[in-house]
Symmetry: C2
Subunit: 653 residues, 2 copies
């Protein structure tokens, strides 16, 4: 039974942890090491300031190829009254970088001198003349890089806590150092636990969970400057887990104990922390991630902090960001990473539990002038939401959420300029959109698609929260697609309708068709469980149209009210046995090895407000519609006809 009854606010949890670290003497740099100044110094953090040991240049250096002279010897030289300087008493040849002779204080570039022989005639070797002739006086220190021009010995080169970049390594070398003293890398043990876990690459059976949290946590740690060791999976056995924790504590500065998602897993962690030291926090009021455990182990004379990381992957990754990164930063003596924060308008209402700091993953991009944040799936198990997220919108403790259009602060995972490359496609889903996304990626465009059905897409365009919408809305009266609905939903807006594909819709059935379903008529049978698409989906409207033609009432179908949001989800429902059939596209059937009975061919268009047609943001997408490679890739999938691809089907309004 999970015990997250004691959730405390995040700042209080951080405070307790910080105090425990302080009293253990673990709140600053863990230690330092001196390493030689080479490639491995890149990215390390200075444990002390670097003061220049040597000036740079460490001597007066010629800054041009030419003749070193004493400036006063050149006084009076002019075009009309050239002056000869005797080689080498008055003028010495120097290359760029050469030491300036002690009695000289300027360099005359060779290009503006004339080499003379003993007869004051022009000489053949300009670098070994008898004398040189000049036609201009020079000032002292002209074309000389004086000692210390770059850095003077004793100057501060870089402060403590600085993380070394390539140019820093150069400057440290220039300042006369061959070694640097850096904070030693914190050693972090990552312990995955859970009897349900299997390693990456093992065959899975139902109930198995692929263990990848330790990989996320270990790579986070390394990215943040630590050294991570992934331990093998330990099953849910308190004694075994305790033994692993003890072993890890011997050699590591921090233990990340990743509980399984199964019941009681966090209780094991909590009990083990209590037995081996002090349980500081059990449950933090953040979502996702609240069952976090913070503790301090007492292993003989050493104190070792431990973080009990929740089992769900989104919770695990955010626990890394919230608790592990700042700790590693302190241990390295560097500033914690600070994410760029932008203000963006929510594309839809967000409900939030008032008691928690709620981190909502969002896709962020500009539609016209407005910066929008589209909330992604909130499930703590939905790792793809973190992969797709451009940032986190924090709904602070005490707020109940925010309404559509409201501005929220988003901590970005990307550089701000990358947001200007996001194309929002909201509407009906088709696998061709995934293909398009793949084709656009190399052209610096991210196609973010949200699947809300065709009508939902038109509504999104009306609300100005999308660049385009996929749509396949049949008008039963005219047999035409989309145009009537555009008039209805977007009566004011100038719209281009671009053809994408004709595609087959049909019945998706379990492999081998065990219930012997032959057509829509069979959906009335009491033993047939249907799985429907959501209200507003073109596929649902297609079904309704044909049910109507056949005189079948919706409530004659078992499961008419069970809704999925994509073709693939419908296919997944059938593949898993949750339903016997659903209406969808052939590609989805093929993807999950389902049977397919083709019923109708329909046109699937892209609905594009004309204001975006010439937007450079969308240019690569429009070009892509004329690419032979895309056409080929679509035709390689079953049930598609690319005849309309790239065609301007209609201009509405």
């Amino acid at each position: 039974m999970s015990v997250y009854l004691h959730d405390i606010p995040l700042p209080e949890a951080q405070q307790r942890f910080r105090e425990a670290l302080q009293s253990a003497g673990l709140d600053g740099v863990l230690g330092q090491e001196t390493i030689s100044l080479g490639k491995s110094a890149l990215g390390r953090t200075l444990a002390g300031p670097i003061w220049a040991k040597l000036s740079s240049p460490h001597y007066h250096a010629a800054a041009m190829d030419g003749f070193a002279v004493t400036a006063s010897d050149t006084n009076g030289a002019s075009q009309s009254a050239p002056l000869s300087l005797e080689y080498v008493a008055q003028a010495v040849y120097v290359d760029t970088g050469d030491v300036l002779p002690l009695d000289k204080n300027a360099v005359i570039p060779i290009e503006v001198t004339e080499a003379l022989d003993a007869q004051e005639q022009l000489h053949s070797d300009p670098r070994q003349p008898h004398a040189i002739r000049i036609r201009e006086a020079v000032t002292p220190w002209q074309h000389v890089r004086p000692m210390g021009e770059d850095m003077v010995a004793t100057e501060l080169v870089l402060p403590e806590g600085h993380t070394l970049r390539p140019v820093d390594l150069g400057a440290i070398a220039a300042a006369g150092h061959s070694h640097v003293t850096v904070a030693r890398k914190p050693k972090v043990a990552v312990l995955p636990t859970g009897s349900e876990l299997v390693s990456i690459g093992e065959t899975v059976k139902p109930g198995d969970i692929i263990e990848f949290n330790s990989l996320i946590l270990a790579t986070q740690v390394e990215e943040w400057g630590g050294e991570a060791r992934q331990f093998p999976i330990t099953p849910d056995d308190e004694a075994e887990i305790k033994a692993q924790v003890l072993a890890a504590a011997q050699e590591h500065d921090l233990i990340l104990l990743n509980a399984g998602s199964s019941a009681g897993a966090e209780d094991f962690s909590a009990r083990i922390v209590e037995q081996l030291g002090e349980l500081l926090v059990h449950g933090v009021a953040v979502r996702p991630g609240h069952p976090v455990i913070l503790g301090m182990l007492q292993i003989e004379e050493r104190q070792v902090p431990i973080i009990g990381v929740p089992g769900y992957p989104v919770s695990a990754a955010l626990t890394g960001e919230i608790f592990v990164e700042p700790l590693l930063a302190r241990w390295l003596g560097r500033q914690p990473r600070e994410k760029v924060t932008v203000e963006a308008q929510l594309t839809r209402k967000l409900n939030s539990p008032g008691g928690d700091d709620d981190y909502v993953r969002v896709a962020v991009g500009y539609v016209g002038e407005r910066l929008l944040a589209a909330p992604l799936s909130r499930g703590a198990g939905v790792i793809s939401s973190l992969v797709r997220a451009d940032g986190l919108a924090l709904m602070p403790r005490g707020s109940q959420g925010a309404s559509a259009g409201e501005k929220v602060n988003v901590q970005l995972y990307r550089e701000p300029q990358e947001l200007e490359r996001t194309i929002f496609a909201i509407g009906s889903h088709d696998i061709v959109l995934d293909l398009l996304a793949q084709f656009l990626a190399p052209q610096a465009r991210r196609l973010v698609s949200a699947n809300v059905g065709s009508i939902g897409g038109l509504v999104a365009l009306r609300r100005g929260v999308a660049h385009l919408a996929g749509s396949h809305l049949l008008d039963p009266e005219s047999g035409e697609y989309n145009l009537k609905y555009i008039q209805e939903y977007l009566p004011e807006e100038a719209i281009n309708v671009l053809g994408l594909v004709n595609r087959q819709q049909g019945l998706l059935l379990r492999s081998g068709n065990p219930k012997n379903i032959m057509g829509l008529e069979d959906l009335k049978r009491p033993d047939v469980r249907y799985i429907n698409r959501q209200r507003g989906a073109g596929t649902r409207m297609l079904l309704d149209h044909h049910l109507n033609l056949m005189g079948i009432a919706p409530d004659e179908l078992h499961g008419y009210n069970r809704e999925e949001y994509t073709h693939l989800s419908v296919a997944a429902a059938i593949a898993s046995g949750r339903a016997d059939c659903g209406l969808g596209i052939a590609a989805a059937a093929q993807a999950l090895q389902l049977d397919f009975i083709p019923l109708f061919e329909e046109r699937y268009d892209l609905i594009l407000p004309r204001q975006f047609h010439d937007d450079p943001l969308l240019a690569p997408l429009l070009d892509c519609l004329h690419s032979a490679r895309l056409r080929k890739a679509i035709e390689d999938m079953p049930g598609y006809n690319t005849a309309p691809l790239g065609e301007l089907i209609a201009e509405v309004n």
Copy 2:
């Protein structure tokens, strides 16, 4: 003799190089390799899209600990009419993550059930009851994570060209992959050449140049996803360099041939490229960095691009950014890095040669509401200017520069939010400012100081381009410091004068005082070469004041017109023999092991416009003035008295 006579514009140079790469078939991903999904996959770039092989979850999973039921069995249950479900026919205990039994379609959390024994009494083991009692009906799929909730098999997980982050590795594992196919790392050879070069750590003598460009280039390459090998230093010997290039070409995809800064070094490079292949570009109209060479070697059947990198370190580092990074990005199939660009106002006039794209290193920060760009040293040998730079202001080819206050585009090296932590100190220089910078670094403040002398600092405050100014301006009439000058230069502005230190000023002399200089009187001697500070420097004014008192005219000093901008530069001039003595502080003498004759003690203040006094930006600095650690660190230096440290000396206006 250098041959940068053929400088061509940057876009043309890039175009020629690109075309040569294209015709050599080297304009895209060099190759791919399949690696196991582990820590080493972090930061690698996908060579193809990742489609989900497995749905996630790959089965219907209980999302809570509780009882799996068939939703229809719960119809009618309510508070007043509880319902019993028989264990295990109607209700099966499941832990979070467990497989939902095939005939069940919902989970009731254990907390809202009552366990019953055979007599319908409450049962002792809530997970093994005879039956459970519920008081609420449930809907189908409640508390179930349906198969594919996260990802459905066949969905696009990540597009080609994506660079892998920790969460991506998790998602790829969840999608059923144990390996990833990534672009192979380009192999880059870095060849330092030059007879004047010595390796890091070797003892240097005048004329030696410490070879660190190869370290900068190699770490740049690794940071950008390549694999770099640093070759040993090759002296300026055409045959030897050619042999090294040939050897490197066998095993590498790109050669960076770093010419020495000495004369003819680039000619070697150019000739070798011509002998071994095609010289595409010799000289690019960019500053710093124009003697860049671009070529394509033909080694048996292979073509190997080569970049001749200029010898000056700033040129070398910028050549990496301009030519190497975009090439590596193409070879990895990723987008080139794009720096965030901001618009900032120049703090001073910038002259620029009209013929080149001129990259000016700037410090960037906010003073009040204005974002300012302060140009740093422009010397191609001044690597510290790159270390200190917050970004590059590009003065495009064709522009002649920009005036003070003009807005310029700056490509940032830092995150934009870091700019909000920059404190600009413009004025007189003192080593205590370096100490302050070091103390402020751990508190997320960067103290950027520009040394323009005390008067220059007051002018900078008047122009609103600095937060504070170090100043030590003696009023000869009152014997007071700074106040009169503040009234004169900042008559309108409310100013706080904060004490920093009292410091000794005196004569800096070559070690052992070979010219037997005993005081200011000796500066008139014809054999004594003085080195002065620039006009407006408090130290110069102090000299003028005392010369005046002593009845010595400035032109009686040899070298009165030779100016340096900092105490340390004056010390360096003396240490190197360029001058015999100068006026400065004891710390500068000690730094360079000079002799020192103390003459006067003066007060050195921080001049702070009151508007910044309560600015959170400056709070850590003001706190720091009261730190015992800072006081101790200052007192450890000779010639300082910390009595005024942190004192509010005066409020002016």
